[in-house]
Symmetry: C2
Subunit: 478 residues, 2 copies
């Protein structure tokens, strides 16, 4: 007797990402029942075994697990493109804008960024932001998978007005306490919400932005509640300077002594980590997020992900933020990651296509703690998958033997708009490039309105005189 | 009395690329008459001055000069994706395939690559290939602008069977003579053809691939006929080794003594050039083509374009070839160029967005010798322009003041599929992403057929055992 399926995806170049490679299956099929994958196998067999309500014909297409963006700051999409090609990115470009992002603008930015990433095949978004009312609801409504991380820091709520470069940050324990409480409340409300599609991580912003005691409090809550910790680690020279001043230790050694370096930690960036420090973090079992595009644009640096992986660590890819990347597109991150690392080591064999594809699927899933749930196409896993049209010039021709060219072309030639259909938890969120759960033109229109209002506030704020990009504006270069 | 125009492009974010920056004009318009730009200015003025047959509404769009791809090997698109992530790219990956590219397959590759590049906004293609009958006709028919360069070398026509790594190449003067004659005949037939849209360059393949005497012959013909020379220069360690063995000189010094380093030379790659050598080539007035994606993938190297430009040289961008890039997309090259150079110098201010945009428009036009004809939007120049839809998530929101974000987003967030319309020499070749002068599905279908035939011939050829990618195929990584 035929088994029931809600969808049968058929005739695909199927990349299951099971096993140690890409798990290719020619003329493959995926049966979906409810929010899960019921079966994966040859189209002919699944056609005969399943009675499906909907057929998704993937002939001429590649089908992959949905991609994972392991580190985003979605509100900043509202000021996309105002912070690149400058030194002192934060102070001289982003901050004069970001201080004028009010809650409505932040939510418009999140909607915009989720739509952008979804259209490029990202199905799991690990977002790091202030837990505004309405933030998690966006993910709930649009239907993508989210790991939400409310910001926790102890910086003075009124700003850093009196602070001078080189001074220790004026940590405010009450501010840290409030942020910690807000994060705990957010976790109580949203962890494992939307049938498990939305989960929560704890997000101490960086080891220099709250006290040692409050870092330990975060760790304690994380352990008791089984939450991962999502933190910027060794993200810049200013952080390292703060750590040396305050504790006489660089970040990795400090975190190791604190008991932070374990598989509960998702360590973002490691921009300033030495090779030895990257190895230490990896060997302790912590996971790394590599944001190639963002750190390339902001710092001109390639973080030590190759060393981290060589030491046995798991690496996921992240897009960081649109002001200083300037896009949230895992196809972009895969290509940049492969190429930046080849260049760093002057070796074309470093980080081949299949490795970066794993970092954005199964390895990324394991890194963010969802390896049992997503990241590959296998019976029992969540039905998060994308259908990619290969019948476009830049992915043509498809060759199968003696060398199959699909994976290299997906990494080096695709740009994300080849993604035709997106399914998350068994629900189609995009079909034939049309979003089904969100009004895309309305999202763009709202983003434009909010951004124009921000631009007006920035122009009226004397601090905008600090903007480094005023000079190229005046020179007619923008 | 109103002036006549064939087209009026209106309401654009216009980037004319005139002057020293990007030449921005808000609510700009372009009047096109015949194959030329009649006028550029504010929409309101051109609307009142011109009576146009066709209106192209570019509201919400950026309009730029068509992009220039200054170095392509279009036939190799037929084996896209078989040559990356390997050492010894040529011998261990490409050669076992390329030897089976017959003329029909080569032409199918050219058609595919032209379609791919055109859809990504490239309007001028500087193609380097064997001058097969039918090659130039593809450009003639599709209507893009082309600088065609027939390959000239003196390698034995029967192949390099007896040659061993480390030996001098067995140059065959008769083969060089035949290639030179064929190139001269091709130039006689196609230079300034199609109303000047198709022009020819002379293409000695590399300084080690024909004799000193034949290099001088090429230079002599180039000077007499007013043709540029398009040559791979310092492209690899094998070339440098050949030059040292044969002449006791590295390539730049050799070419300088030979009188090759002048503004007639388009020097491709300079992968192995030292900073001092790059400066020498630039100071002599020769132009450089930088193929960031290709050299990144093939060699893991960033060529010295920043040094070359700092020494006053002109740099154009090139996509090289699809087997080992793996795409021909100048948006891709702009982004990789900006980022690779930031990383090389560990400095986020190096090669800002506006500089790489100039390299693919006005600076690129000057580099390939067409600076008076194309590369910017100005009255009297050829009407080569592209309309880019900014109302897509990855390019939203558009900000105007105090900082305009369009150019950085075009470089760091666009991928080329945002190009909506393409005009070359006053003729629309693409409108609303539909190609008007070529049957895209037929091109893809023919490419697939030819590629499958090549794959069959490769599989039947014992030489395929040399393929480095057989190992990842066996390991399930492709």
């Amino acid at each position: 007797m035929a088994r029931r399926a809600d969808y049968l995806v058929v005739h695909a170049h199927l990349f299951t990402m099971e096993g140690t490679g890409v798990g290719y299956l020619a003329d493959g099929a995926v049966a979906v029942r409810g929010d899960r994958i019921a079966e994966v196998g040859p189209t002919s067999r699944l056609r005969s075994e399943f009675d499906a309500d909907g057929i998704l014909d993937a002939c001429g297409c590649a089908v992959l697990p949905g991609l994972i963006d392991a580190h985003m700051h979605t509100p900043l999409a509202i000021v996309r493109g105002v912070a690149q090609d400058v030194a002192h990115w934060m102070q001289k470009a982003l901050a004069p804008y970001s201080r004028h992002i009010n809650p409505a603008a932040a939510l418009a930015g999140t909607r915009l960024n989720v739509v952008e990433a979804l259209k490029a095949g990202t199905t799991t978004m690990v977002d790091y932001a202030t837990p505004l009312p309405g933030w998690a609801e966006i993910y709930d409504q649009i239907g993508v998978r989210a790991r939400l991380t409310p910001t926790i820091n102890a910086l003075p709520p009124g700003g850093m007005a009196g602070w001078k470069l080189g001074d220790l940050y004026p940590l405010d324990p009450a501010a840290g306490e409030a942020a910690l409480d807000a994060a705990a409340a957010f976790a109580a409300g949203w962890h494992e919400a939307a049938d498990g599609r939305i989960t929560v991580m704890l997000g101490p912003q960086a080891p220099d932005m709250l006290s040692r005691e409050q870092l330990l409090q975060v760790k304690d809550i994380a352990q008791r509640q089984g939450l991962m910790i999502h933190m910027h680690v060794a993200q810049g020279d200013r952080e390292i300077d703060q750590m040396l001043q305050r504790y006489g230790q660089r970040t990795p050694a400090f975190l190791d002594d604190l008991g932070y370096l374990d598989d509960q930690l998702l360590a973002v960036h490691l921009t300033e980590a030495t090779a030895r420090e990257a190895e230490l973090v990896a060997q302790r079992g912590a996971r790394m997020v590599l944001c190639s595009g963002s750190i390339g644009i902001i710092d001109g640096i390639v973080p030590p992900a190759h060393t981290f992986r060589s030491a046995g660590g798991l690496v996921a890819l992240g897009s960081d933020q649109a002001s200083g990347n300037n896009c949230s597109n895992i196809f972009n991150e895969m290509k940049l990651t492969a190429l930046f690392n080849k260049i760093t080591f002057r070796d074309p064999t470093i980080m081949p296509a299949w490795e970066v594809l794993r970092m954005s699927t199964i390895e990324g899933a394991r890194a963010v703690g969802l390896g049992d749930t997503i990241g590959s196409l296998a019976a029992g896993k969540q039905a998060d998958l994308i259908v990619i049209d290969l019948e476009v010039p830049q992915l043509s021709p498809v060759l199968q033997t003696p060398i199959r060219n699909i994976v290299p072309n997906l990494v080096y030639a695709a740009s994300g708009h080849e993604v035709r259909d997106v399914m998350v938890a068994g629900r189609l969120l995009m079909r034939d490039r049309q979003l089904l759960t969100v009004d895309e033109p309305a999202v763009l229109a709202e983003a434009r309105l909010q951004a124009e209002a921000i631009a007006g506030r920035v122009a009226a704020d004397p601090v905008h005189a600090q903007l480094a990009l005023l000079e190229p504006m005046a020179a007619g270069q923008l």
